[in-house]
Subunit: 263 residues, 2 copies
């Protein structure tokens, strides 16, 4: 059923290709080979990540170091999408992001800020930095908050960490404003990944570990979506009240096995 | 109209009696004398605060230092209310609160925590502490989050600060849980203040600077409520979509003038 008439794949990265950790992370068994097999099959492929703790360059280097066949040009990530929005709307951001993400905004005018961009700032989520971003927002006549994702939390080798979505909610509540989310699960983000791949949604499959942001988001764009039982997957995801994947697979390797048999 | 048949007053403290600041704060003009006049009049009086940056002892000392006639026994505050709940339900809290509030929980068993209590932790709202509170919550089969208030922000002499409500929202979202709010605007909190005063809601008036937490909360308990134009009051509060005070007064002194004329 789910593997019919596929021309393109969107892959989530963290939790599908590798498990992240403070020290870098480790590939998930079979995933390095699975990416090679997808590329050899002639299927279109795009990596679709909400990663905002590093520039795409640095992120891709880390994955290459683990053995993955991946290049910067194949990655759809929130920061470049946010930069397009900032330029289109003449927005000058106050950045609350990870130090390593700042270079993605190098060409953006940041003087005299008229919006706040929040990413997974990790150690930069200090009391002082949150208050500062809050003051910038509350001082605007009509606060504009752009959030690079809306994830709740993620797993690192040293434990679970609050993701950008939690801090986004704090600022939303304090300023009585609704953030504009760039990144998964936003429709515009999936659509730009599909456009970059040149495949319509009905011929594409998203594979991810996040039931809401990967699976639910992709399905709302008309794509099929699989949930892997790796990364942040939890058994209770299979009873999710709103989202039901087109299929579960134990890991990326199993999904690719099934897909390639159908081709 | 609003001053008829009154037997008891509930007073918010910060923004009504004084303006807070990193250095302690300053009394609002006329408020020291207004408290004395209420006491001399024979009206029942209770101070009803969401203050959670200090024990009641320390808080009352600060107010006495400014000249206010106030004692610990006259103060209704969230931490003691939370302690009653913790004891009743055999809850052992992981505390994410201000250092100076910790003594209020001295008699509470905190080993092997089975809930999280969050207050206005201020400088204790670090990335590490928020992640730790999150991990305690997400590790429970049914997460219990008790929040000492749900304020959005407050003003100190060095600027606006995010209040406990913003951090409560972050944890609520990350854990998909609803916090139980102790303190204003919770009905149970106002009711315990009324019980301590021995006055039914229809004979009591709340006076506060917070349109939602003071005025709206008290009105939902069947009390009348005034908003003062001091503290965090903003002119746009007078167009609030849901809450309409029984009256506005410029400050506590004006409210007391009108009240005492009616007696």
């Amino acid at each position: 059923g789910w593997a019919r008439a596929v021309r393109g794949l969107l892959l989530d990265v963290s939790g599908v290709l590798y498990d992240s950790g403070g020290d870098g992370g480790v590939p998930i068994a079979g995933s390095v080979e699975a990416v090679r097999r997808i590329k050899a099959s002639g299927l279109k492929l795009r990596f679709c990540t909400n990663e905002t703790q590093a520039t795409r360059e640095k992120f891709v280097k880390k994955l290459q170091g683990m053995g993955f066949d991946i290049s910067v040009a194949e990655v759809t990530a929130p920061a470049p999408a946010a930069c397009r929005i900032l330029k289109e709307r003449n927005l000058r951001p106050h950045l609350l992001v990870h130090d390593d993400l700042v270079p993605e905004f190098a060409e953006i005018d940041k003087a005299n800020s008229n919006c706040v961009v929040i990413g997974d700032a990790a150690e930069n989520f200090t009391y002082a930095n949150l208050n500062e971003a809050f003051r910038v927002l509350i001082g605007m006549e009509k606060p504009v908050l752009i959030s690079l994702g809306r994830g709740r939390y993620y797993k690192e080798t040293d434990g679970l960490k609050l993701d950008v979505g939690a801090y986004m909610k704090a600022l939303e509540y304090a300023c009585d404003v609704q953030a504009e989310v760039v990144g998964k699960p936003s429709k515009a983000f999936f659509e730009s990944a599909l456009a970059e791949m040149g495949v319509p949604p009905q011929e594409a499959i998203m594979i991810g570990d996040d039931i809401v942001n990967d699976v639910g988001g992709a399905q709302r764009c008309g794509m099929r979506a699989l949930q892997v039982r790796t990364g942040k997957y939890r058994p209770c995801d299979e009873n999710h009240p709103h989202v039901k994947p087109d299929a579960y697979v134990n890991n990326l390797a199993e999904a690719v096995d099934i897909l390639l048999q159908q081709l």
